[in-house]
């Protein structure tokens, strides 16, 4: 790799200062490095300075309470997967984080990194959006919070300005009788980038019918996209075959997919429907268990 500097600040203020510093090429955040180092080595991106954020307390911890989850942006995927209460509360999110690469990648990759890398196929993003997550950003001008669906603006692009850093994700506690699920399709059982992904977050009523739903698709558009028509198809139903078929069709329609070396647009469209149906069933089964 072309040479760069390296700093590992222990405070958020120091990190912001470093990230706001001059340089051509400029500074970049290093969390798990599982995307960044690959791109640096390939020459796809350049960096003058890597700011290692793993030792900053605000990014390194997670806490779960009555209000919900505060997930430090640099917490590694393996830690999330090992957290029993997280798995029980947000199974879909944990599923999504858990498929980001192999055990080796899980030991380093972070949700923050997955989000900031802003790949159209990022696995955590649809699940985060489905859960109505928020991003907390800190920068030279203070901090701001915004819905996660506003964070990624295009392939590889986010709203982060100069000197800004994503510090945590906030996810509200699920309502009663609610559960999420995330499914994706890859040619092999692991290790591949998602060809399509679907996150479904459902709330069931006391009568067992679907009261509310969010359906978010990944890898079928420049960014993760919500499929509100698919969600509407589920609401009021008991997830019977006809409703699922409508939801699947709506999901397929919502796609703006491309042909690339991982799949054709037509294939992605078809999969979006199949995965939506399967994820909806999984979320409903989980939600019913919480009744």
């Amino acid at each position: 790799m072309e040479p760069f500097g390296y700093r590992a600040p222990r405070s958020l203020a120091e990190a912001i200062e470093l990230l706001a510093s001059d340089g051509d090429p400029g500074p970049r955040v290093l969390a798990g490095g599982t995307d960044l180092l690959v791109r640096l080595r390939a020459g796809d991106v350049r960096a003058g300075l890597l700011v290692d954020v793993k030792r900053i307390p605000e990014l390194a911890g997670l806490s779960l309470d009555g209000d919900g989850l505060r997930l430090g942006a640099a917490v590694c995927a393996a830690e999330i997967g090992e957290h029993r209460e997280l798995r029980e509360t947000y199974p879909g999110l944990v599923d999504a984080v858990g498929v980001i690469g192999s055990a080796q990648v899980q030991g380093r990759a972070s949700v923050g990194g997955n989000l900031c890398n802003a790949s159209p196929a990022a696995d955590s993003v649809p699940a985060l959006i489905a859960l109505s997550a928020e991003c907390v950003i800190a920068g030279p001008d203070g901090s701001r919070t915004l819905p996660v669906e506003s964070f990624v603006t295009g392939p590889g692009e986010t709203v982060l300005g100069r000197g800004e850093i994503l510090i945590e994700l906030r996810i509200p506690r699920p309502r009663a009788r609610s559960a999420d699920a995330y499914l994706r399709f890859t040619p092999r059982t692991e290790m591949d980038i998602a060809v399509a992904g679907a996150a479904v977050n459902l709330t069931l009523g006391p009568d067992g019918a679907c009261r509310a739903a969010r359906v978010v698709l990944g890898a079928v558009a420049p960014t993760a996209i919500a499929a509100p028509a698919a969600a509407r198809a589920l609401v009021g139903s008991r997830l019977e075959e006809a409703a699922l078929a409508r939801a699947a069709a709506a999901a397929s329609d919502a796609c703006i997919p491309i042909d690339d070396k991982r799949g054709t647009a037509a294939f992605r469209r078809k999969l979006a429907g199949v995965l939506t149906r399967r994820a909806a069933r999984a979320a409903a089964a989980r939600a019913a268990e919480r009744a």
């Binding site: 399709f185 092999r188 070396k261 799949g263 037509a266 078809k270």
Partner: protein, 752 residues
């Protein structure tokens, strides 16, 4: 099954070289570093087809830390001359131009220059500083385009071998034909005729260790080369020719090798490292990146194969014909000939004709990949046979049994088979519980067979007896798969001593006699034969020493279980003399005891296999999963059954990957789109079930222990086994590989 008369053969001792491998101590190609070493890197063409107008290396030499830059101008311009590999042929002129492009670049990634510098970073900067002026030419990236009239021509002087009267430049390098009888007559006699066209894509051997070399040239011009290779003597010979050096000026020491499968039977970096070390007076290390391995080594051909098979209503094959069109890559020499020879070899056929075409196009020069050429041909043949059986309403194994080659059958390529075990593999498959196990919904079962001739070729070996009666087996065959332990076991069996008292080492080109490649499934067969002969030489010498002590005729001395036994009948006769005593006294009785042998092993026993594959197909996503796999192979005699099983399991896994997901993807400019393990999708542990390897032993009469080569045959059936299973699961016959989910889904959806 093996008779219990062997002490060591057929057991499963732990390989002595294994400890270094499980502790990380074993030294592979990139593990050596020498003081003062420079790092070498290669500049590669960004165009699939272009004329090189000029190369300016001076800017690179000006980069700090850069010590030398070379191009084809620094190599002799070789005339065309054939160079024999283990199973493939190459041409030295082509080989030299593949190592460094001269006049033209012929594929994206083709080596254009090489540099040596004090660090990898400096070397990379040097590459960026070299200025190459290219005249970009239109590229040909598929078989049809390459053969179309008016196609861009890769080599102006290429004419089709095997076609008379060809005057114009062409991309058709060769036409071959084999066969006998009258296929039209045979088809006329058939009640069922199946004719189909099949296509496969370029795939890579996928060895996990990238090519690596360290070369050091002394002031007297003698170079020592450390590299991962399947053939140190081939590296020596090829480098000597490419560099215009005497063979004796190059010593090649093979490191441990992290996979080869045929892909490390030629040279890419080695001549460059030698020349750079000579120029700089310092050792030079060159290691390929994974991307370079995919772009610029020797994957195997993409193919188009048309096959036609006829059979009577009773299930007797009447004729088989095929046309094979194989990609050679940038230079002539695809494995189309071997493919033609093997594709129908498992069957008795009076009328058979196979025509093959070797086509150059702007892709990397193809290399040998485990039974080169035959997996694709078997995909076509065994799929078509499956279809014939279906139409006849016959069980696929019964159909093959009715037509199976046996001892005395004349192969399509000429020779009569001696004792072979194909029928035994079919019968074992039929009997096996897998064949009658129930299938779940969405599942299907496929059967396919395969053949590979295996090769013999030359090997040298020595068995050195130590003063304590232990022995060291020395050979020139790099160990890819556990051959050291098998060689040691054969020596232990001959000497009659425990395996723990025998070690085996791999020597280099200056410490052992000439040996051909570790390829062609030949090591346990041919090098094994040499080891057996060398061990018998030791036994003969030991017997002579004993005879001298006893003052008897050496021919009357018997050797049993590690001891010399005196002639019977002598009352109050001498006690037997053990190997330890005789070894201890060797200095006094005549000197060191070293057994040696060098030979050309003849008549290797061919390998036959029958594979059963169960798949589960998700009709909504097109994903195919292999849920059960059993491979039956005639292995002759399994010296170490565990490592024979390993060969079969590994070959099956490669074939499964080839069938399901592996393929080179190209962009419109001719660059590989997936030169990495993310998008070149090889099977991972969670993709596969256990692979049951059933060893059928029908000893080959041409080896002292009945050994047949085993390494390549397992790669041949899986493509069709998987495809036939998918047909059974879905009703759809897939004729295009790989069976990636988008393709499968599209086919299933279009059928409704």
């Amino acid at each position: 099954m093996s008779e219990p008369r062997y002490k060591c053969i057929g057991t499963r001792p732990i390989r002595p070289d294994g400890v270094d491998k499980v502790t990380g101590r074993a030294s592979f190609g990139a593990d050596l570093s020498l003081p003062g070493m420079l790092h070498g890197r290669v500049l590669r063409s960004p165009h699939a087809h272009a004329r090189i107008r000029s190369i300016e290396v001076e800017p690179a030499l000006a980069v700090e830390g850069v010590k030398a830059v070379i191009t084809a101008a620094d190599l002799p311009d070789l005339a065309s001359q054939a160079a024999q590999g283990a199973e493939t042929q190459t041409d030295f002129r082509d080989l030299s131009r593949n190592v460094l492009a001269r006049d033209k670049v012929l594929y994206h990634g083709h080596a254009v220059a090489a540099v040596a510098a004090t660090s990898r970073t400096a070397a990379e900067r040097a590459l960026a500083a070299i200025r190459v002026d290219y005249e970009v030419l239109p590229a040909v990236l598929d078989l049809d385009s390459a053969l179309a009239p008016g196609a861009p021509i890769l080599h102006e002087d290429l004419r089709t071998r095997g076609l008379a009267g060809g005057g114009a430049p062409t991309n058709l390098a060769a036409r071959i034909e084999i066969g006998r009888g009258d296929v039209e007559k045979g088809f006329a006699e058939a009640d069922v005729v199946v004719e189909r066209e099949f296509t496969t894509r370029m795939v890579h051997q996928g060895y996990i260790e990238p090519h690596a070399v360290v070369a050091r040239t002394a002031e007297d011009g003698h170079s020592v080369v450390w590299c991962c290779t399947q053939g140190p003597f081939v590296v020596r010979a090829y480098c000597a020719r490419i560099l215009g050096m005497d063979l004796s000026r190059i010593r090649v020491i093979p490191s441990e090798i992290g996979g080869g499968f045929g892909g490390k039977t030629t040279v890419y970096l080695e001549p460059l490292a030698i020349l750079l070390s000579r120029r700089t007076g310092r050792p030079v290390k060159m290691v390929m990146t994974r991307e370079e391995v995919f772009r610029a080594t020797g994957p195997t051909s993409g193919t188009r194969i048309r096959v036609k098979i006829g059979a009577t209503a009773k299930g007797k094959l009447t004729a088989a014909a095929a046309t094979l069109v194989y990609e050679a890559g940038a230079f002539k020499g695809s494995p189309v000939t071997a493919a033609a020879m093997t594709m129908f070899a498992p069957y008795r056929l009076e009328q058979v004709r196979i025509e093959g075409f070797d086509v150059v196009l702007n892709k990397p020069k193809v290399g040998a990949y485990r039974a080169p050429g035959s997996a694709m041909a078997a995909f076509a043949a065994e799929s078509a046979l499956d279809e014939v059986a279906l139409r006849l309403g016959m069980d696929p194994i019964d159909f093959r049994l009715a037509n199976a080659a046996r001892e005395g059958t004349e192969a399509p390529y000429g020779p009569k088979f001696r004792r072979i075990g194909f029928v035994e593999t079919l019968e074992a498959a039929k009997r096996h519980p897998h064949y009658s196990a129930p299938l779940g919904p969405g599942q299907g079962r496929g059967v396919a067979c395969g053949f590979w001739f295996n090769v013999g070729l030359q090997s040298s070996a020595a068995v050195n007896l130590n003063e304590d009666g232990t022995a060291v087996v020395v050979s020139g065959s790099p160990d890819l798969s556990g051959t050291r332990i098998s060689l040691a076991m054969m020596a232990a069996e001959e000497l009659g001593i425990p395996i723990e008292r025998v070690r085996a080492v791999v020597a280099d080109t200056e410490t052992i006699g000439y040996s051909d490649l570790s390829a062609g499934s030949r090591v346990t067969f041919a090098t094994g034969m040499a080891v057996v002969e060398a061990a018998r030489d030791v036994v003969r010498q030991l017997s002579e020493r004993a005879a001298a002590i006893w003052r008897v005729d050496p021919r009357e001395v018997r050797w049993e279980e590690g001891r010399a036994l005196p002639p019977q009948g002598a009352a109050g006769g001498p006690e037997p003399l053990g190997i330890e005593e005789l070894a201890r006294d060797a200095a006094r009785t005549g000197g060191p005891i070293v057994g040696r042998a060098s030979l050309t092993a003849r008549a290797p026993g061919p390998g036959f296999a029958t594979h059963i594959c169960d798949v589960s197909v998700d009709r909504e996503t097109g994903r195919v999963s292999v849920v059960r796999y059993t491979a039956f192979q005639d292995v002759g005699r399994a010296i170490h059954p565990g490592y024979v099983e390993g060969q079969i399991q590994g070959g099956a896994a490669q074939g499964i990957g080839w069938a399901l997901n592996e393929e080179y993807l190209w962009d419109s400019s001719g660059a590989v789109e997936n030169p990495g393990f993310l998008d070149y999708r090889m099977p991972i542990a969670s993709d596969l079930p256990m692979i049951d390897a059933q060893l059928i032993e029908v000893p080959s009469p041409t080896h002292p222990y009945g050994v047949r080569g085993v390494g390549e045959t397992p790669n041949v059936p899986p493509l069709a086994a998987v495809a036939n299973a998918v047909r059974a699961a879905t009703g759809h016959r897939f004729t295009d590989l790989p069976l990636s989910p988008p393709r499968v889904l599209e086919a299933l959806d279009s059928e409704g």
